[in-house]
C-alpha cells in the first residue's frame, strides 16, 4: 500500500498522534455538574430548589449554632454571654445545659458514687456481643473489644470508682478479652452469662439471686440432656424442674448462700433509673428477649397444628392491633390485677415484659416473611434427609430464613429502641421527655427547649443509624449469591 502512494502522497504519518484531552465540558467537575445538576430545565429547577432549601436551613440554624455557649451555669448567664459577644438581639444555643446536666441525661437519678456500675455493664455489653457480631473478622472484634475495655476503665476511673472496684473492673475486662481471644467457644458461654452479670451490676443486691435464676436454666438443661432419650418427656421434665426450682428453692438457696458469702453490691431501686441507662436497659433487654420469642411465635404461626397456629395468630394480631402506649398502660395499671393478690413487681420489669411482647409480635411477622420466602425445596430437602422438625428448623430452615429477614429484624430492633422513649407516660424517666422536663423545671435552666432535644435526638440517631448500618454490613457478609 505504501508503495502505491509513495510518490503520489506528500506526507504519511508513521506515528500516532498523542490523545487530546477531552473538551472541558466533557470531563472533570464541569461534566459532573452538567450531568448531575444542570442536565435539563427540570433538573436546573430542582437544583435551585435544593440550594434554596439549603440556604433556608443554613440561614436559620447557623447563626443560632455559631453563637452557642458551652460553658455557663444557667440560662441567664448564657444569654448574657451571647449578648456580650454578638449584640443584644442575637440568639444562640446554650449547650452548657448538656454539659451541666450530663450525668442526669445519662444516669438519671442513679447514685453518684455507683456510676461505675452502669458504665461497666454497658462496656461489658460490647465484650459480650463482639464474639457474636464480628464472628469472622478478628480485626473488627479486637478494635471493638479493646476500645470498649479501655473506655470503660477510663470512664469508671474518671467517675470516681474506688481502687478495689477499679482493680476488679480491670481484672474482669482483661480476663474476658483473653477468653475471647484464646477460647472463642467459651466466650459464647460468657455471652450467655452476661445478662445475669448486668442485672446484678445495675440493680445491685446479692450476686446469688441472679446466679440462682441462672441455676434454674442450668438445671433444666442438664435434665433435658440427661433424659434426651425420652424425647418430649425430657423437655417437659426439664421445664417442670426449672419452674419448680425458681418457685420453691432458688430464693431459699440464694438467701442461704448470701448469709455465708454475701457478694453484695449496694442495691439500687428502679425509680432511681433514668436517662439513657433506662433506655438502653429496656432496649437491650427487649431486643435480647424478643428475638427468641419472635422465632417461636413465627414457627407456631406456620405450624401444621391448628390449635397452636390459632393461638399464635390471635396473640400476634392482638398485639399488633393495639398501640404500644395502651400496652404500657396495661403494664402500669392492670398487670398487678393479673397477679396473685399482694404481689407487686418492679415497674421496669413490667415495662420490659410488655415491650418484649410488643416487639416479639412484630418480630414474628418479619421472620414469618423470611420463612415464607424460603423455597419449598428446602423444607423437602430437610425432610428427605430424615431430619426431625426441630433439627430441620435449626440446621436448614432458620439459618436461611433469619438471613433473609435481617433487614426486617434490625428495623424492628430500631423501632423498639425508639419506642423506649414512651415509658415516660407510665412515670419512668426517659432521656427525651421526662429528663428534659425535669431539667427545664429547675430555675437555672428554664427555657432550655432545643438543646436537650438536639442532644437526645443526636444520640438516638447515632445508635439507630449505627444499627441499620450494621445490618447492611451483616447482609453483605452473609450474602451467598447464586450467580
Amino acid at each position: 500500500m505504501s508503495d502505491t502512494h509513495a510518490q503520489t502522497v506528500a506526507f504519511v504519518r508513521d506515528t500516532m498522534l498523542p490523545p487530546e484531552p477531552p473538551p472541558v465540558s466533557e470531563s472533570g467537575a464541569v461534566k459532573w455538574l452538567r450531568e448531575n445538576l444542570f442536565s435539563g430545565p427540570l433538573n436546573i429547577a430542582l437544583t435551585l430548589l435544593g440550594l434554596f432549601i439549603l440556604w433556608l436551613l443554613f440561614s436559620t440554624l447557623w447563626p443560632w449554632l455559631s453563637h452557642s455557649v458551652w460553658n455557663a451555669n444557667s440560662m441567664a448567664e448564657c444569654r448574657e454571654i451571647i449578648a456580650a459577644a454578638h449584640g443584644p438581639d442575637a440568639s444562640g444555643g446554650c449547650f452548657a445545659v448538656i454539659k451541666h446536666r450530663w450525668n442526669q441525661f445519662v444516669f438519671g437519678f442513679y447514685p453518684v458514687d455507683l456510676y461505675w456500675r452502669p458504665v461497666l455493664a454497658f462496656g461489658a455489653l460490647f465484650l459480650a456481643l463482639a464474639p457474636v457480631l464480628f464472628a469472622d473478622s478478628p480485626l473488627a472484634r479486637r478494635i471493638v473489644t479493646g476500645t470498649a475495655a479501655v473506655l470503660t476503665f477510663a470512664i469508671a476511673a474518671v467517675l470516681g470508682a474506688g481502687g478495689l472496684e477499679l482493680a476488679a473492673i480491670a481484672v474482669l475486662l482483661l480476663a474476658w478479652i483473653l477468653l475471647i481471644e484464646m477460647r472463642g467457644d467459651l466466650a459464647l458461654v460468657a455471652t450467655l452469662l452476661y445478662p445475669f452479670l448486668a442485672v446484678w451490676l445495675l440493680w445491685g443486691g446479692t450476686l446469688w439471686e441472679p446466679l440462682m435464676a441462672l441455676a434454674g436454666f442450668v438445671i433444666g438443661f442438664v435434665i433435658w440432656r440427661a433424659l434426651s432419650a425420652y424425647g418430649m418427656f425430657a423437655f417437659a421434665a426439664a421445664v417442670l424442674a426449672a419452674v419448680l426450682w425458681w418457685l420453691l428453692l432458688s430464693d431459699l438457696v440464694a438467701r442461704g448462700i448470701a448469709a455465708i458469702l454475701p457478694m453484695r453490691l449496694v442495691p439500687v431501686s428502679s425509680d432511681q433509673f433514668g436517662g439513657f441507662v433506662l433506655s438502653i436497659t429496656i432496649g437491650v433487654a427487649g431486643i435480647a428477649l424478643s428475638l427468641p420469642l419472635g422465632i417461636v411465635l413465627a414457627l407456631a404461626r406456620r405450624s401444621d397444628l391448628p390449635i397452636i397456629k390459632t393461638m399464635a395468630v390471635l396473640f400476634i394480631e392482638f398485639i399488633r392491633g393495639v398501640p404500644l402506649i395502651t400496652l404500657l398502660f396495661v403494664a402500669s395499671l392492670l398487670l398487678n390485677y393479673f397477679m396473685p393478690p399482694g404481689t407487686n413487681f418492679d415497674i421496669i420489669l413490667r415495662v420490659i415484659i410488655m415491650v418484649t411482647l410488643f416487639a416479639s409480635a412484630y418480630m414474628a411477622e418479619v421472620i414469618r416473611g423470611g420463612l415464607a420466602a424460603l423455597p419449598k425445596g428446602q423444607y423437602e430437602a430437610a425432610d428427605a434427609l430424615g431430619l426431625d422438625y426441630w433439627k430441620a428448623q435449626r440446621l436448614v430452615i432458620l439459618p436461611q430464613a433469619l438471613k433473609i429477614s435481617i433487614p426486617g429484624i434490625v428495623s424492628t430492633f430500631i423501632g423498639m429502641f425508639k419506642d423506649t422513649t414512651l415509658v415516660v407516660f407510665v412515670g419512668l424517666f426517659d432521656p427525651l421527655k421526662a429528663m428534659s422536663d425535669t431539667i427545664r423545671a429547675s430555675f437555672e435552666w428554664k427555657g432550655a427547649y432545643w438543646e436537650p432535644y438536639i442532644f437526645v435526638g443526636a444520640i438516638f440517631f447515632i445508635l439507630c443509624f449505627g444499627m441499620s448500618r450494621y445490618s447492611m454490613y451483616l447482609e453483605r457478609r452473609l450474602k451467598r449469591d447464586h450467580r
Binding site: E35, N36, L37, S39, N43, L46, T47, L49, G50, L51, I53, L54, G231, M232, F233, D304, L305, P306, I307, I308, M311, E317, F318, R320, G321, V322, P323, L324, I325, T326, F329, V330, L333, L334, N336, Y337, F338, M339, P340, P341, I414, K418, D419, T421, L422, V424, F425, L432, K433, S436, Y449, W450, Y453, V456, G457, F460, F461, C464, F465, S468
Partner: protein, 417 residues
C-alpha cells in the same frame, strides 16, 4: 410414614400418643391447649380476687353517667353534661380525624420524597436521603415535642398580626395564620345554604350530601366510560379519546354545585385580639398532624423508592421495545407492578400512623386515649373496663385497615399458573 393398603394397621396402644406421628400432634396440641387454659384461668381468677379485694365489680354502667369534663377539640357537639360514652365517641372521632389527615398528607410527602430520592439530581437526592434517615432514626415523640416547641415558642401570639406594621404576616396567600395558641385557617362558607338534615344532635348540610352524591355519580360514570373505551379498543384497536369527557364528568357538576350554593372560602380576619370568621384549628391537632406526617412520610418514601426499584429495568426496556411512550410505559407497565409491591407496606404504615396517633398524650390532644383511657379512666377508676374497651376499639380499627389491605392484595395478586 406411608400406609400400605392391605397392611393391617397395628392396634392402638397408649404409647402411640407419643411415638406415633399421627397421634403425637394431637397430644402436643391437647397439652398446650390445657396449659394455656390453665394460665388463662389463673389470670382471670387472680383478677377477680383482686377486684373483690378492692370492692370493685366489672360493669360498664359508668359509660352512661355524666362525664363532667370538657373536651377542647370536638367534631360532634359535646359538653360536660354528656355521658362518658359520648366523650369516648368524641375521642374516637378525634383519633380518626388526625389519622385520616395524617395518612393523606404522609402519602403525599412520601411519594414526592421517594420519587425525588431516585431523581438524577444529585443535590435533591442527597437532601431527601438526609430527610429520610434523620426522621426514621429519631423517635416520633421527639418530633412531636420539637414541633410543639416550635409552635409554642417560636410562633407569634395572635396580636402580633395586628396594627399598621405587624410583627408577623400570614402565609399561603394571606389565608393561614399560625399563632402560638391556634392556627387560623379559612372556613368554607355557603352564600345560598340549602339547609341541614338532623342526625341526632348533629346537622349535616344538604350541600355536603349533594357533593358526595355528585362525585360518586361521576366516579361511576368514569368507570363505565373506561369500560366502554376498553371495549372499543378491543374491537377496533383504537382507543377513543376520553380525557375531556372524564374531566367534564367531574368538573361540570362540581362547578355547578359550587356556583349554585355559592361556595367560597372565608379567610380568617383579626378582630380585636383574636382571629375570627375562619376556623381556628387547635395547635394540638396541627402539631400532632405535622409530626405524624413528617415521620410516617419518611417511611413511606422508602417504601415508594423500594417499590419503583423493584420493577426490573427489563420491564421498561420491553415496553420501549413494544413502542410505548415513556408516559404510557410508566402508567401501564411500571406503576401497576410497583403498586403491587408498594401498597401492602403502605397500608401497614397507615396502621402504624393510626396507632402512633395515641401519642396525642404528649400534646394534650383529646383522642380516644385522652378521653376513654385518660380522663374517664381517672374519674371513674375503672381501669379494667376502660382499657379493655380502648384496646378493643383500636383492635377493631386495625382489623378494618388490614381487612382493606387483604381485599387489595387478593385483587392485585399475581395470577400464576
Amino acid at each position: 410414614m406411608v400406609d400400605y393398603p392391605g397392611a393391617a394397621s397395628p392396634p392402638f396402644r397408649l404409647s402411640m400418643l407419643i411415638y406415633d406421628r399421627r397421634y403425637r400432634s394431637l397430644t402436643i396440641q391437647a397439652v398446650v391447649f390445657i396449659l394455656v387454659m390453665l394460665l388463662a384461668s389463673w389470670l382471670i381468677d387472680n383478677t377477680l380476687k383482686n377486684l373483690a379485694i378492692m370492692g370493685k365489680t366489672l360493669s360498664f354502667d359508668f359509660l352512661f353517667r355524666r362525664a363532667g369534663y370538657d373536651i377542647p377539640q370536638q367534631l360532634i357537639p359535646y359538653n360536660s353534661d354528656d355521658t362518658h360514652l359520648r366523650a369516648a365517641t368524641v375521642g374516637l372521632l378525634n383519633t380518626l380525624q388526625v389519622s385520616i389527615l395524617g395518612c393523606i398528607a404522609a402519602t403525599v410527602v412520601g411519594v414526592i420524597v421517594g420519587v425525588l430520592r431516585l431523581s438524577q439530581n444529585w443535590l435533591i437526592a442527597r437532601l431527601m436521603t438526609i430527610y429520610v434517615e434523620v426522621f426514621r432514626n429519631i423517635p416520633l415523640l421527639l418530633w412531636i415535642l420539637v414541633i410543639l416547641a416550635i409552635f409554642t415558642e417560636v410562633m407569634p401570639p395572635p396580636n402580633a398580626y395586628r396594627g399598621e406594621s405587624p410583627r408577623a404576616s400570614m402565609i399561603m396567600f394571606d389565608l393561614v395564620a399560625p399563632t402560638n395558641r391556634y392556627t387560623a385557617v379559612p372556613a368554607i362558607g355557603l352564600s345560598n345554604p340549602p339547609g341541614t338534615i338532623a342526625i341526632g344532635r348533629e346537622g349535616i348540610s344538604w350541600a355536603l350530601i349533594a357533593f358526595v352524591v355528585v362525585l360518586a355519580g361521576a366516579w361511576l360514570g368514569h368507570r363505565a366510560l373506561r369500560k366502554s373505551a376498553k371495549r372499543v379498543q378491543d374491537a377496533t384497536g383504537i382507543r377513543p379519546v376520553t380525557w375531556w369527557k372524564v374531566l367534564a364528568m367531574y368538573l361540570v357538576p362540581v362547578l355547578f354545585l359550587t356556583w349554585y350554593f355559592g361556595l367560597h372560602l372565608i379567610p380568617p380576619v383579626l378582630r380585636g385580639f383574636n382571629f375570627a370568621d375562619g376556623t381556628n384549628l387547635d395547635n394540638a391537632l396541627v402539631v400532632l398532624w405535622l409530626a405524624l406526617t413528617l415521620y410516617t412520610g419518611a417511611f413511606i418514601a422508602e417504601i415508594v423508592r423500594g417499590g419503583i426499584l423493584a420493577v426490573s429495568k427489563g420491564q421498561t426496556e420491553a415496553a420501549y421495545a413494544l413502542g410505548l411512550r415513556p408516559r404510557r410505559t410508566m402508567s401501564l407497565v411500571v406503576l401497576p407492578q410497583a403498586l403491587r409491591v408498594i401498597v401492602p407496606p403502605l397500608i401497614s404504615q397507615y396502621l402504624n400512623l393510626t396507632k402512633n396517633s395515641s401519642l396525642a398524650i404528649a400534646v394534650g390532644y383529646m383522642d380516644l386515649r385522652g378521653t376513654l383511657g385518660g380522663t374517664t379512666l381517672n374519674q371513674t377508676g375503672r381501669e379494667m373496663e376502660c382499657m379493655v374497651l380502648m384496646m378493643g376499639v383500636y383492635l377493631l380499627l386495625s382489623l378494618i385497615i388490614s381487612g382493606g389491605m387483604n381485599v387489595f392484595n387478593s385483587r392485585v395478586k399475581l395470577r400464576e399458573r
